[in-house]
Symmetry: C2
Subunit: 299 residues, 2 copies
């Protein structure tokens, strides 16, 4: 009973902000209050026809979900608008959920210089411990303890789920996925920040969010986490070889090296000529959806 | 010889603004000075692998082109970012060119109220006759006499071309296509303004650009042009049935009625549940590319 009433509460709290039809499924934005982030959060959800009753014979199916975590400066909208993912999601019967990249609101502290790489739009999918950021920047708990339960209580989705993301969101997908192998069937990333404790973006953000004690940082660093992973969740990574952030910020070689130490095989595709943009993502997103589909048992 | 030197001049004048790889082809933005519009104009061009030497065996082919005209408030970027068209263009070996929707610049007159439906971002693909707009708003001539020659002189494209667009750009595709049947193999549109002389958007724009004599308006109205078309270029139109502009601004029934008078068969797909957005376009853009491909002899 307590579960049911908590479920009802979550359903009530989701407020639909927009809805549009795409590939005969529905793309919607919802806002809900986050107890962890102490602010309203918005997310986008694409439900394929199977999950809206618009599929074959109007049958309503509980579909698996891919959670997509976006990169620095993005919102819940970028992926849905630019990735070109919805066609394949509609075809295979997979939902996609894209949360915002940070808490938002007038009371939410930001980078004093309003830089793009820290604060608003740059939550780094961790739980901040340092004031003033600890009051709102609890994106790790928000994803696992609020967003996923709200989605599973409110829509025609199953409990099968995968996680993916781009850049800072690739870091989020890898770290959340590696730390929760019982939750996600598979992990993928485009151009992820693979070793944030060793790159300028990560050092800046982790110093502000987590403090100077770098021992607390490694739980949010994929290259550290992959060394001690017991369960080896399948991982697919695509990286543009002409990405201007490759050497200074992304460091896929660190992740590959760490994975080898643990006999953890990851599929890393270096793509000649591709950059850090959504045009790169759109070029290979269907391969990622098909990759996840085999583990989500959606094909 | 004079042709060659004019060709060289056009090549020289194109300045590349950006370039990125997408589906193994190149997406670039170029700017060039427009003699008709008296300002710099920017356009985007997607070249499939066939036209960049990245195709099978590195062979360089001259590919056909689809010219895409965007809607109110858009630039050369919206279609490339949001339509999800590049995959099929890459696959079939078709280039896509997307011009801006109006002249731009400090000296270019705009709507006094900065409204989205007239002035900057709202050139309506016509040649203005009324001051102060006549100095810059010559989009009809710009497309036909400057953009197309510049593209054909500068890239690995053939002379085969089709035209398509959305909303105001659907109006542009229909009117430019119907008036130049020797130029375009096929015409398509999403949610086009079909009868601008009878809708608020059209009346406002045409009054300012063309003056009060409505006799001069009909050469930019697809529902008038289709009645007297001798050559019946194939036309495909997709229209969302839940488009909020359908009844007041778009009026596909006027075009259909006019086409019937001239025994001109157009394929008009009314799509239940779809709205005016790029999610609608993305849901059906591949069908439009395949439609044009059959006439461009690209498949």
């Amino acid at each position: 009973m307590s579960n049911e009433s908590s479920t009802s509460k979550q359903i009530e709290e989701l407020k639909r902000v927009s809805q549009t039809l795409a590939f005969n499924g529905t793309l919607s934005q919802y806002s809900h209050y986050s107890q962890h982030n102490n602010c309203d959060m918005r997310f986008a959800i694409y439900l394929p026809p199977h999950a809206t009753g618009a599929g074959i014979e109007g049958k309503l199916e509980n579909v698996p979900v891919i959670y997509w975590l976006s990169g620095l400066s993005c919102t819940d909208e970028n992926f849905m608008q630019k990735a070109g993912a919805l066609k394949m999601a509609a075809q295979l019967g997979i939902a996609i959920v894209a949360p915002d990249t940070s808490p938002r609101g007038e009371d939410v502290p930001d980078d004093p210089d309003k830089a793009y790489d820290f604060g608003l739009g740059a939550g780094f999918y961790l739980n901040a411990t340092q004031p003033p950021f600890d009051r709102n920047y609890q994106m790790y708990d928000y994803i696992l303890k609020e967003l996923i339960p709200a989605v599973e209580a409110s829509f025609a989705v199953s409990s099968k789920k995968a996680i993916s993301g781009h850049s800072m969101g690739g870091h989020g997908a890898l770290t959340i996925g590696l730390r929760n192998p019982e939750v996600f069937t598979s992990i993928s990333a485009f151009s992820p920040i693979c070793n944030p404790v060793e790159c300028p973006w990560g050092i800046k953000a982790f110093t502000h969010y987590l403090g100077d004690n770098t021992d607390t940082w490694t739980m949010y660093d994929a290259s550290h986490l992959i060394k001690k992973a017991n369960i080896k969740t399948p991982i697919l990574i695509d990286q543009g070889a002409d990405d201007s952030f490759l050497k200074s910020e992304l460091k896929p070689e660190s992740l590959l090296k760490a994975a080898l130490i643990n006999d953890y095989t990851i599929q890393l595709n270096m793509r000649p000529g591709y950059d850090h943009s959504y045009y790169f993502i759109s070029s290979f997103i269907e391969e990622h959806i098909v990759f996840h589909a085999q583990f989500l048992q959606a094909v």
